[in-house]
Symmetry: none
Subunit: 220 residues, 4 copies
DNA sequence: TATGAATGAGTGTTCATTCAT
DNA sequence: GATGAATGAACACTCATTCAT
């Protein structure tokens, strides 16, 4: 019903049709609930052909993850103009991120929900992509510190945690923006910039929030 | 192999054993990959008993979600001391949250990963818990504004977005803290407070970060 | 919901409650689809008690068949006044039969449908009852012949076949009468008497219908 | 153990093999007691293939009912030569009926016993076939009345009852003939013609048997 | 290049039946 | 006399995967 049943297509094209169908099916049904039958039918090919080209359900899912991860990181990379100030770069990256995830909800579902939920061959795959994005954000945070002429005496792990938090907030806001009618990618990005940047700015100014004295607390 | 095979237990006890086994199995294998056989064996009972007490896989999973959601919200509620300043309450809530999730990784996996990934009976269940937490955080943000003697002219949706971002960041950091050796619940909470509170503080002072003029940008 | 949950009843009473519940359940659900759980609940007792009194599902079903078969034959026997002319006796028997089956639809379903459909322990049980009724009808046919002062030169097997046909017609009409609104037991009996007796009468007069010459027919 | 395990048959052929096996198994074991495993093995295929071609046990059973019902009505239709006198047509129809049922005992068991015993998807299916046969017999009765130059003042419901009785008698005799060694289809048909036709003939002559006065009877 | 035909292994679920009290 | 707790064995159904063409 989606792919026109055209015969004798070159392999590369057929493969993309299959991946399209697979991403859609995995994104909507989930990895385990998606059946190879459904994917093959949606792709307009017979099941053995799917196996001929993509070997197994696991491999097919991995291929989906890789393709969607590449598409997402590429979108973010393409959205960022290098050489600008760090806050500007972060803003651009976030906008690109929210735009891409809202335009490719099935791909995002595959990356954010399905791949992480189904154990080890897949979690690692998406973790690599995530690490790349976290590294990029970490770089921006450090760049911002340099631009503010501060020697960042933030411990390395602290910066890593901040980057994690920022990326996690972005992931969460992506789902929120997609689910909340009337919230655009731009607005989601602005909200997150408000939340994050001002906080980071404060810390750059040497006024970090500090937890109360641990002595009076119950352990935890 | 885990629970000692004790016979003739009262129903309530057996039910908790089953839920324990189910949370562990669902958390580690995933909802669909977890088999009722495995759960029953881990609980030290036969499969029919699981069905007698919990009706179906779906009901069993729902019961897991409910129990773990209640435990998590209860832990957070118990960690927060009412009447204190908003920042202090948030700090306490975050600590309780990270402590609980790190101590119950399978329960957290059920709530954060499995329940959201597997469609409608379950997603709604965990969405209710999440909404409760988001509402709590929203309340704290507004309270903080009041405490700072500011009429919060933040638009309602903006506050909602901020709360979403904060909760999302917390969820993400929970996974990061659990996966990164040497990061304690306390440290994770401190990192997030730094990230969030300083940013919020800036905004309270009327200095929110603002996005650059849209006219010069490419669409998105 | 049916049987009042009274404790410590004498065994005979409890057993009848169980048989009531069983007949109803077997009659409505069918032998295999009826579950011992449902029967026990309908009887207002626990499952082990059913087993204590009636041993097994098979035995329980057999007990149902026997009780309902006895009730039906007894009803027919009680409806017939001995010593009267054969046609009158047949009329009375048919009326009693249709009356009883319409008043005990579950019992009739057990005998006519369920017992015959589920193989050998049971089919024999109901076959015995049926044989008894067929023998009674056979006797009436022969009596009718004697009353008409005819030495019945009908071969024995022919009479048996006629009796079978009559009983079969009655069974079929019982279902029809129960399913067709406005058809009373009396009307069903009258219809069958019309159908059967006039035919038998003709034969008594020596004018049986005879099949056409076999020579011109295809084999069969 | 029955069908030779021939591989790679065209779908239509395999389907018939499956239906053959299913009719046999359903006819002998009963609908519920028949297992899909047994049917598949008897058909010489694996269980998934049965599901691939026939969807479910319910659908498989329905397909059996339809096939056997069509075969039976077709056999009766083919046995009757139109245009002949009504008694002759009835005789031919009965012979065809008894011949077919004796040659296909499992199919007959499916139609007569199993389908009627197991609730609504199935009962309706066989009721349709039965209605067709009853209508055919009704037509013959009316035709016989016309041929006897009588305006049939038999009330409509009376004719319907007679047709029901005739068909019921036939169904019952089919079982009797199959179970009684030495009774041929021809003899069963002759017995039923004797039983039925002479009775009908009497009624055509205006001499129906009439029930005794109800005033002297006990109620019922 | 592409597929119709076919299956081994496993799933959730149910049921008649029994033990310990 | 009566029951709550428990299970072995089976069943309908599904799925990823492969062979023969």
């Amino acid at each position: 019903m989606d792919a026109v049943k055209t015969k004798r297509m070159p392999r590369a094209v057929r493969e993309q049709q299959m991946l399209d169908a697979a991403v859609r099916t995995f994104g909507q049904r989930g990895y385990m609930a998606a059946s190879m039958d459904e994917i093959a039918e949606l792709a307009g090919v017979s099941k053995p052909l799917v196996y001929l080209y993509l070997n197994s359900k696991e491999d097919l899912f991995t291929a989906c993850i890789r393709r969607e991860a590449a598409a997402l990181t590429e979108a973010v990379r393409a959205g960022v103009i290098p050489g600008r100030p760090a806050d500007r770069q972060l803003w651009e990256g976030l906008r690109a991120f929210f735009t891409h995830t809202s335009r490719h909800p099935d791909g995002w579902a595959v990356l954010h929900l399905q791949a992480r939920t189904h154990g080890e061959p897949f979690a690692a795959e998406v973790a690599a992509m995530r690490a790349e994005i976290v590294a990029f954000v970490t770089e921006l945070i450090l760049a911002a510190a340099r631009e503010a002429h501060r020697d960042p005496d933030l411990p390395e792990r602290e910066v890593a945690g901040l980057a994690e938090a920022l990326v996690g907030a972005a992931e969460s806001l992506a789902a929120w923006a997609n689910a909340t009618p009337g919230v655009t990618a731009r607005q989601a990005a602005a909200t997150l910039m408000n939340f994050a940047w001002a906080g980071l700015g404060n810390m750059m100014d040497g006024r970090p929030w500090s937890p109360p004295d641990a002595a009076h607390e119950v352990s935890g």
